[in-house]
Structures are given as C-alpha cells and as structure tokens.
Symmetry: C2
Subunit: 263 residues, 2 copies
C-alpha cells in the first residue's frame, strides 16, 4: 500500500473536523481561530544521505514544516522537535542548523524530546497562524490558472544536497491575491499538482514548466524537494503561470513522485 | 553526555521566551494566549519491546503527550502524528490504538506524516489550552508539600506492558487547588521530582511513597512510566501527600531514572 492510500485509511479512523476547520489531508491542519499545525519527519538514508552534514539535516527538518505553513498562506509560530538518534550522534550540529533556519524564518524552537535509536529520525511540528481563510488543496476550479513561485528541478539536479528555502512571503502573497488552492512541491510537481487535482476534483493541462538552471525537464516535473509553491486561481498577479485546471479529472500527466510504501 | 545535559546545551541555541511564556524545559511549552505545545517520541526497542502489540504502541504514543498537557494543568486540543516505519509495518494497528486513546482523552488526530525507516519511531505533538496560569516545574518553594495522584511502580511491575493513563482531571484539579509546580512521572519519581527540584531551586524529603499493588518500593521510586502526576503546594486538598520541599537543594534521594545518552 502506498503512503497516500494509507493516509486515506487512517483518516477514516478519526472524526471529521467541525465546519471551518480542515484536518488530515492538507499541508497543515486548520484548527480553531486560524491556528495551523503541521508535522514532518526526515529519516536518515531516506530523506538525506549518510554524508549529508548534520547541520543541513537540522535546517531541512525545520524548513519542510515552515513550507507547509507557507502552503496555507500562513505565518509560522513555534516549533517543537523530536530527535531519535544513535548515541554517537553530534546533536549540536543538528540543532545549530535548525537554529539557523529557525532564526531565518522567525519560528523559534520551544520544546522537544530526545531519544536513542539505531538510525537518525528528526521530527518537527510547527504551529502557524493565518489572517482569514487559509488556502486549502481543495479549492481549485476548472478554468483556474496554475502558477508556481519559481523554476523547478534544482534540488534534484543538485542531488538534494542544497538547503531548501520556504516560500513564506510568496505563499502569503498568493493567498492575499485570491489563490483558490495551494501546495508545496515536496514529492514533485506532477505528484503535488495531482494532490490538488484529487482534492479539488479537477484535471489540468500544463503549457510550460520553468526548469531551474542545470536541471532537466524530468527533474522539474518529478524531482521534488524544491519547496516552491504551486497554486491556482483566476488571473493572479503573482507567480509564473504554467497551465490551467480542467473539468476532466482524468486529464493529467502520468506518473507521480516519491511515495513511501507500507504493507 | 546525558539527555538532560544535551537539552541544556540545546536551550542556549534558541532565544528566550517573552514574559508569560515558557519554552524549552517543561512538560509542554507555554505560548501566547494559553496555548500549550508538546512533543514526545516512542522508539521500538527503547520505549517498547518488539512483542508489544502495535495498538498499544499507538495508544502510548498519544497518551504520553496528553500526560504532558495534564502536567501543566491543561486540556488537550489536537494531535499530529509522524510515523517512521519499516515497509512491512501494519500501520492500521498503530492508528487504531491511537484512535482509542484519542477518543478517550478528546484529542483528535488532525494530521501527520508517514515515512519509511528501518525501525519504528512514532512521534506525536499535541496542542493544549489552559485557563489562566499553567503549572510549571519551577514554582515549588521550601515548605511546600509534595503530592502524587496515585500509587507508583505499577508500570515497572508489569514489565511496562500496560496501557498508561493520562491524569487529565487530576492535573486540572491540582492547578485549580493552587499547585505551585507539577510534572508527570515518566522517568521515575526520583528523576522527575529531581526535575522539579532543579527548576525550582529546592531540595525535598519524602515521608512515604505509595507503592502500587505488586510493585516494589524501588519500582515505585525509580521505575517510571506510571504517568501519575507529582505536584507541590501548601495544604492541597487533592492527591496523596508524600513529602515536603526543603531549602537545602542538595537534600534529595540519590540516583535518577532512565536517561538517553549522546556523545
């Protein structure tokens, strides 16, 4: 079973949200009073290679969560961090990279947990706030334009050895401009645009995809981990237009991106 | 380096909280407007044995976080869950146990992340609320009585194969009664009372410790994972009085409880 089928099964075990809230299935959960809550894990050997500097692991673990808040059009609040690590792990390096990201994006680490484990697993949860309605994955309509905040494929072209950035200001601008749906490109453009299409009940056609310098078109379409934002809406004055949402839900590019597997 | 020394080093990498908030170093962080935020991880082979039913792992992963909210005198809000697991893991079992705990304590799971890993690591973060001032670890004064919510040592006596309970109502009652400091017994009474003593700058003497049926005094003192609450205050009408805080910070029982180790 793939990760996304598993999420669908898990969702059925828990109650549905009250009106105005959005729970399992978006970049961040939308709770009462505009409170956002997200969690993301990075695992050694899966999300980063053994030779990745630990400071970059710490940076990334925080940034992927800030990016989830950005994808709602929100502002990050605070982070808590759980590190499961072998006893010989230099924790200082992880937390130094995390502190840099934390200062860069204004998201202080306010608590955490440390535990021994055989492999390094870093999990961060962040709160956030949004003034007004957050942008969900489910609001795209046929005829909406599709936009990205920048060229794609750079992370894949660099062997995922770059420090990703979170597009906070861009996400807030897209929300303010009236974006109808939004997601960050973590699994890859085709996979993540597929999540918007699934949640919104639309298809899409792409006219062009901006390719990052040094990257291939395939990396731009399916490489993932760029953490650019993809969003939809009518005649939006922000981002780069790459296509249009359609009424035919089967109309989409084939294939997906990275997906974890479970029994 | 031990877990608690590591936490002290990590704390220095991050900014100090504004007045009225409490960040790294308590059971849960206290944020703006009475918002609480906690995170805890359970790791296969460390926090549970290979033969532990996965439903019990899911239950425990949520409960230990609800217990952190209880130890502030708060009410749980929502949870997000990150599971890093080998591909052959039956995720349904983990989430079914978690859903039971979630329904029992009114703490819905609103989002999460799934990733493949070589060993099972389940991390839960929860929000909470407290009406008025939360109970920190740092408020105990010499002369305060020391109280527990129930007998200790049951978890150790059962080989940690029991489903722990979170003392939510008891924590709220202790706060309402004027408790000056509070913590949950996860590492063991001696270790956790030591955290209160360290944070408050007090020592303590114990008159008696209520021992759970079937447990030894040593298990009651150092076994841990009972998730009873320990709290301090003057003539409190709740809990079982076990001792008194003293001005001599060196006055305490020797030894601690479980501590993770890092380089």
């Amino acid at each position: 079973m793939g990760e996304f089928a598993a999420i669908e099964r898990i969702r059925r075990l828990f109650p549905s949200p009250p009106p105005g809230q959005a729970w399992i299935g978006d970049d961040a959960a939308v709770l009462d009073d505009g409170l956002l809550l997200a969690v993301d894990t990075v695992v050694a050997g899966v999300h980063f290679r053994a030779e990745t500097p630990l400071a970059d692991v710490g940076w990334k673990a925080l940034i992927v969560n800030v990016s989830d808040i950005a994808a709602m059009g929100g502002t990050p609040g605070h982070a808590v961090v759980a590190v499961a690590a072998p006893p010989d792990t230099d924790l200082d390096l992880i937390y130094e990279g995390m502190a840099e990201a934390s200062a860069t994006y204004g998201c202080p680490v306010v608590g955490g947990d440390l535990a021994n484990a055989n492999e390094l697993v870093v999990t961060v949860a962040v709160t956030g706030r949004v003034d007004g309605a957050p942008v969900l994955r489910s609001g795209a309509k046929p005829g909406d334009g599709i936009y990205v905040t920048g060229p794609l494929g750079a992370a894949a072209a660099a062997g995922y050895r770059v420090r990703p950035q979170a597009r906070l200001a861009e996400g807030q601008a897209a929300r303010a401009a009236g974006a109808t749906a939004m997601i960050d490109v973590s699994d890859g453009l085709v996979a993540d645009l597929g999540h918007i299409a699934d949640a919104s009940g639309v298809g899409y056609e792409l006219d062009r995809v901006p390719v990052a310098e040094g990257a291939t078109e395939e990396q731009a379409l399916r490489g993932g981990e760029d953490y650019e934002l993809v969003f939809t809406g009518i005649d939006l004055p922000v981002g780069i237009r790459i296509g249009t949402c359609t009424a035919d839900v089967s109309q989409r590019l084939p294939g997906g991106g990275w997906e974890h597997r479970f029994s």
